[in-house]
């Protein structure tokens, strides 16, 4: 997309990611965990971006299901793909952190489990689109909608069941020195997400245009 802001934003994002490691290194050492704690900067940022991707996909799906506007479907599928990839990042960096922090690779607590379930739902969404045959864009949109509605229930259930993950309040309780790098990384991730989303939606848009051209050719 030849959006005039795109290239400058891309440069800014690249610069932020280039600088991020320095910021992270400069941040204070966490007392108990040492170096491994620094994964948190990317892990939590990815986590926030995952929810952004999920929201984008969910909203796109709802819009597509009820208005059948093609751009809504493009938003839905792009968000879902990004959610799948970012989810993978979250689910890999999390255990790396957890092994050091809690001594185990995985724990069945609310946040982990609902992230895993949400990731599975988006993968199911992508599988359906790939293997479901014609009309699967509409069906997948319903899956995304149900998936979104599902997340609070999963969260609540597992929360009542057990909880070990640091609660959301870990952010305010961050040492002052850590807050800067943290929000920097969050911003970098969200920028990257937005850029990739735009590119991905553009790709779908071009695919649709190609289909139209094929059809016009037959006329």
């Amino acid at each position: 997309m030849t959006n005039r802001l795109f290239v400058p934003l891309a440069i800014v994002t690249a610069a932020m990611f280039a600088y991020a490691p320095f910021m992270i290194l400069g941040a204070p050492y966490e007392s108990t965990m040492g170096l491994v704690q620094k994964i948190f900067y990317f892990h939590a940022s990815a986590g926030m971006t995952l929810f952004a991707a999920a929201a984008v996909s969910g909203i796109g799906s709802a819009l597509f299901l009820f208005t059948r506007k093609p751009w809504a479907d493009r938003m839905a599928v792009s968000g879902a793909e990004l959610a799948s990839i970012i989810g993978l990042v979250v689910l890999v960096t999390g255990p790396l952190w957890a092994r050091k922090a809690w001594g185990v690779w995985w724990q069945w607590d609310a946040r982990l489990t609902s992230t895993l379930v949400m990731w599975l739902i988006f993968n199911a969404y992508l599988l359906l689109r790939k293997y479901g045959g014609p009309g699967s864009d509409r069906l997948a949109a319903a899956v995304a909608l149900f998936g979104m509605a599902n997340v609070p229930f999963v969260y609540w259930s597992v929360n009542v069941w057990r909880t070990l993950h640091p609660k959301t309040s870990v952010i305010p309780s961050l040492q002052p020195g850590m807050r800067g790098p943290f929000w920097f990384c969050v911003l970098a991730f969200l920028l990257l997400f937005t850029l990739v989303l735009i590119v991905r939606m553009g790709l779908e848009h071009r695919r649709a245009e190609l289909d139209e051209l094929y059809l016009a050719l037959e006329d």
């Binding site: 599988l127 359906l128 293997y131 319903a142 509605a149 609540w156 259930s157």
Partner: protein, 227 residues
């Protein structure tokens, strides 16, 4: 409104009539559920007693697996003869069609559970009937939640490719809260110091889940089924 209820009942009655003739889905689902219980028993029974909360887990997994099978089979039936199309062409409100099919599935699953639940209680010496009302509530709301989502998904997959494997792939992640609530609620009733308030909390969550998801299903059935 009356017309709506009549339509729902028409669809359900037809499904029950067809099933009563052949009993095919009921019997195959029942025996599948029993096989599930057996297979899981080998995994979780040690020295004649179920390990920990295994009985609760086994029960709900059996319900989930056999429920998925029943859903698939029920809609496969509508695929032969394309009768689902005939119903979509008919002047039945789409939500009524959804509810009619849901009710039919629920009655079928209830019939299966009537056999499987006492059997699990027997085989695992699980005191499932000490708090019968609560247990019934958990089973009812859990099955409703599972079937509510399952009916929509099975209906929408009727003409999709790979529908046999897609149904469980789509259904299980979304019904995770139902399974958690069902298992934990049942376990709360089975443990040494029975935790009734806990079981009640799970029951409330299931009720909320059912209300939310049946509403979403009624809302999305029409757009999802229209090509």
């Amino acid at each position: 409104m009356r017309r709506f209820v009549e339509a729902v009942w028409l669809v359900t009655r037809k499904d029950l009539l067809v099933e009563a003739r052949t009993k095919e889905i009921f019997l195959t689902t029942l025996f599948f559920a029993l096989s599930c219980v057996l297979v899981f028993a080998f995994g979780f029974v040690r020295e004649g007693r179920a390990v920990g909360d295994a009985a609760a887990g086994i029960l709900w997994i059996a319900i989930a697996f056999s429920g998925t099978l029943a859903l698939g089979r029920a809609f496969e039936r509508e695929r032969q003869g394309e009768t689902l199309r005939a119903l979509l062409i008919a002047p039945i409100d789409r939500p009524a069609l959804y509810l009619g099919k849901l009710l039919g599935i629920l009655i079928l699953l209830a019939a299966v559970e009537v056999v499987v639940v006492p059997l699990v209680a027997l085989m695992f010496q699980a005191a499932l009937f000490d708090h019968a009302l609560l247990m019934l509530g958990l089973l009812a709301t859990g099955t409703i939640g599972f079937a509510a989502v399952g009916t929509l998904f099975a209906a929408m997959l009727v003409r999709a490719r790979s529908r046999d494997v897609m149904l469980p792939v789509l259904l299980y992640p979304i019904t995770v809260p139902v399974i958690i609530a069902g298992v934990r609620g049942t376990a709360a009733l089975l443990q040494a110091e029975v935790d009734v308030p806990m079981a009640r909390a799970w029951l409330s969550m299931l009720v909320a889940f059912d209300v939310v998801f049946i509403t979403i299903a009624l809302w999305t059935f029409e757009p999802v089924m229209t090509e």
